[in-house]
């Protein structure tokens, strides 16, 4: 009996501590004793990139007597932690952001803040970027970095096959010709593309051929299974069937780095590792569709910086956001991210660097498209279904008929 009582006492004691602990954190004071406003800033970067960010944060803290920013590096778990933070009302004040459709309800609209800064503030950013940092016409994040997709090619393999290198004016026909020759004359394959493409990325090919996954209302029927859309999927499947292109398990970077393929389409993410490898590569715009009568279009993978809706110190947070997106910080992050301010691109002469210029060329060619992920409410689930459909088309052990797959995808 006594023992039971003891256990009960212990349990209730712990329960009380736990409960009071929970209650305590809610009334947490955001202003510290020294009068500084505390701002929590969450980043997804890892390793040395975090060190560089910490330096920037320290610089900001030194320059501001009244604000203290702490950097929280969430790394790989970024999305999980932000989700959990939003769920429990414990979101960092300022955070990196890319997936606006999923999170915008937890973010502060920044329209009024931007207005206060004047027209020139907004105009300095590349216009296309705003589209990708907005939801339903409201801006929720200030652009920090981006990448478009471009065509990477291995110069040595082109030389070995004795053909001229790709240019910004190439069409897919040119690419196919070159890929065939390279497959015949060298031990490498001509072209690589992912067999399980991220539906978000793949829509750029549809745009380039005058199609899209859905219309403005989000209807798939008649869009994803349109003639133009089918042409795109058919072209990739045919390249694979004819043997001069390979469908890769991942992005294709591994195959490209090892010299097993001569060309692939990817973002700026791989540039650093390609440089380390000392690979002799070039970058040009994605080929256009000959019959589409327009330049190729790229999807944007953009990152921005947002303020939490629940933040108690939005003014101070905005002060930090401004610092993080100004010219100086843009310059400091070159190498981590492609700068988003046209003034920085100009002053750093980025357009003169042949491995970076095509990304900006693609950026200019890609104005005015809205990704289906911003239109369709349940994108993450649809994306998973589309991903399966695309894999049915491109996986070498299935290679299903394009019209069949797309027609059934349109019903989802």
């Amino acid at each position: 009996m006594k023992r039971k009582l003891a256990v009960l006492c212990m349990l209730s004691l712990t329960a009380v501590t736990v409960l009071s602990g929970c209650g305590g954190s809610k009334t947490n004071q955001d202003t510290a004793k020294d009068g500084k406003t505390k701002i929590r800033f969450a980043s997804w970067d890892v390793a040395e990139d975090v060190d560089r960010q910490q330096e920037l944060v320290d610089k900001f803290n030194l320059a501001h007597d009244d604000i203290e920013v702490t950097l929280e590096a969430y790394g790989q778990d970024f999305d999980t932690k932000i989700s959990a933070g939003m769920g429990s009302g414990d979101t960092p004040d300022v955070m990196y952001m890319w997936n606006y459709p999923s999170y915008y309800q937890g973010l502060e609209p920044l329209g009024s803040f931007i207005e206060k800064e004047g027209e020139s503030y907004k105009a300095n950013f590349y216009d296309t970027l705003w589209n990708y940092n907005s939801m339903d016409g409201q801006i929720y994040g200030i652009p920090i970095g981006f990448t478009t997709h471009t065509l990477f090619y291995n110069k040595d393999l082109f030389q070995e096959a004795g053909i001229s290198e790709p240019t910004n004016d190439w069409t897919w026909d040119d690419l196919q010709q070159a890929a065939k020759t390279i497959s015949e004359k060298t031990s490498a394959k001509g072209f690589a593309f992912p067999m399980k493409p991220d539906p978000y990325d793949f829509e750029m090919y549809l745009w380039s051929n005058g199609a899209a996954y859905c219309d403005k209302e989000g209807n798939l029927e008649g869009n994803i299974n349109s003639k133009e859309s089918e042409e795109v999927f058919q072209m990739f499947q045919d390249m694979e069937k004819e043997g001069y292109a390979v469908a890769t398990e991942k992005s294709g970077t591994d195959e490209f780095r090892s010299g097993a393929v001569a060309m692939y389409v990817y973002g700026a993410w791989s540039i650093n590792s390609l440089k380390e490898d000392g690979l002799n590569y070039g970058v040009v715009a994605i080929p256009a569709f000959a019959n589409a009568g327009k330049d190729s279009v790229s999807i944007l993978s953009s990152s921005g910086i947002s303020i939490s809706k629940d933040s108690k110190n939005k003014e101070a947070a905005w002060e930090f956001v401004k610092f993080w997106t100004n010219e100086e910080s843009n310059k400091a992050r070159i190498g981590l991210e492609l700068p988003v301010l046209s003034s920085v691109v100009e002053s750093e002469k980025i357009m003169d660097q042949p491995e970076y210029a095509p990304f900006y060329l693609m950026l200019e060619q890609s104005t005015g498209y809205t990704s289906a992920s911003f239109i369709i409410k349940e994108w993450s689930e649809l994306s998973e279904k589309l991903s399966l459909s695309f894999e049915e088309v491109f996986n070498p052990s299935s290679l299903q008929s394009v019209p069949d797959v797309l027609n059934s995808a349109a019903q989802k």
Binding site: M10, L11, T14, M86, M195, S398
Partner: protein, 306 residues
């Protein structure tokens, strides 16, 4: 006097309070919370909405992926558990043999169990690569064209099983310690009677280690249902969703699609399935698990009746 007694009785509980607190806050608390959450629709960025058993009925009636993922996980457990135990037992038998340098083998067999699941996934991703992987290279030396393990849906599940069997070391060690504990005179006596090594294994070793087999069976059934690291990193659920395990399905519902309530319901269904399976195994254990102490007690009783 009374107070003293109370303190004396309570002392052990004071010692385990740190653990109790951890258990309540990090295990029981979230457990209860998730049970509650499974009755809500909670898209994270907005407030939860109560929907009763809505999540559960949706799962069983509308969601085809639920059944698919459940089947995949069951299939995985059905192949992985016996295979893994057989390998573990085989290795344990090997490292109990009196061979020179047995300690080195023991270490080698155990090392994979120390490596983190993430590293294992990456290593196996390279080994299993259809075009450049080591495994297919070795097979090609034997004149066999290996399948594209992680691309062909017919082979992917097997590839995952292969990769997870890599972590067999822990189970091997448990078998090993138990086998080492078997009194040597049993073997000596039986060999005098002319029992072959195979006979010794089936009539002495195997019956004596049945309690360990039971333990390993239960833990590996549980862990095989919870397998998620490997499929997340090695196959991502593909190719063509052929390795979209139940654990991955739950994880994606929660953190990719932000359906926390629904994912909680998923998790609870899995919990109940594991509970039933474990109960069945326990129930069946009376017919095949042999406890030495029980046997001795039984004999004494018989003697007493006489």
């Amino acid at each position: 006097m009374k107070q003293k007694k109370f303190i004396r009785n309570a002392t052990p509980y004071f010692f385990i309070t740190p653990w109790i607190i951890g258990f309540l806050v990090f295990t029981i608390g979230p457990l209860i919370l998730s049970l509650g959450m499974s009755f809500f629709d909670w898209p994270l960025t907005s407030d939860p909405v109560f929907k009763g058993f809505g999540n559960y009925t949706e799962m069983f009636t509308k969601d085809t992926q639920f059944w698919k993922s459940l089947t995949i996980s069951l299939k995985y457990a059905a192949i992985f558990v016996p295979l893994n135990m057989a390998i573990a037992l085989f290795l344990a038998m090997l490292i109990t043999q009196p061979v020179n340098g047995v300690k080195i083998y023991r270490t080698i067999f155990y090392i994979p169990a120390v490596i983190s699941g993430v590293a294992v996934s990456i290593i196996w991703g390279w080994i299993l690569n259809g075009d450049y992987g080591v495994l297919n290279y070795l097979l090609s030396l034997l004149g066999i064209t290996g399948p594209r393990w992680l691309v062909d849906p017919a082979w992917a599940l097997f590839a995952v099983i292969l990769a997870s069997a890599f972590g067999v070391g822990t189970m091997m060690l448990i078998f090993y310690t138990d086998i080492k504990n078997i009194p040597i005179d049993l073997y000596e006596a039986s060999s005098l009677d002319g029992a072959s090594p195979a006979k010794q294994f089936f009539c002495i070793t195997l019956p004596i280690i049945t309690p360990t087999i039971l333990f390993n069976l239960i833990t590996s059934v549980i862990s095989s249902f919870q397998q998620v690291t490997l499929v997340m990193l090695l196959t991502g659920g593909g190719p063509l969703k052929s390795t979209y395990f139940y654990g991955l399905y739950t994880y994606n519902n929660a953190f990719k699609h932000h359906k926390l309530g629904y994912a909680s319901a998923n998790a609870w269904v899995m919990f109940i399935i594991i509970l039933i399976l474990t109960a069945l195994i326990f129930k069946s254990s009376s017919t095949w698990v042999f406890y030495e102490t029980e046997a001795k007690n039984g004999k004494k009783k018989k003697g007493g009746k006489k």
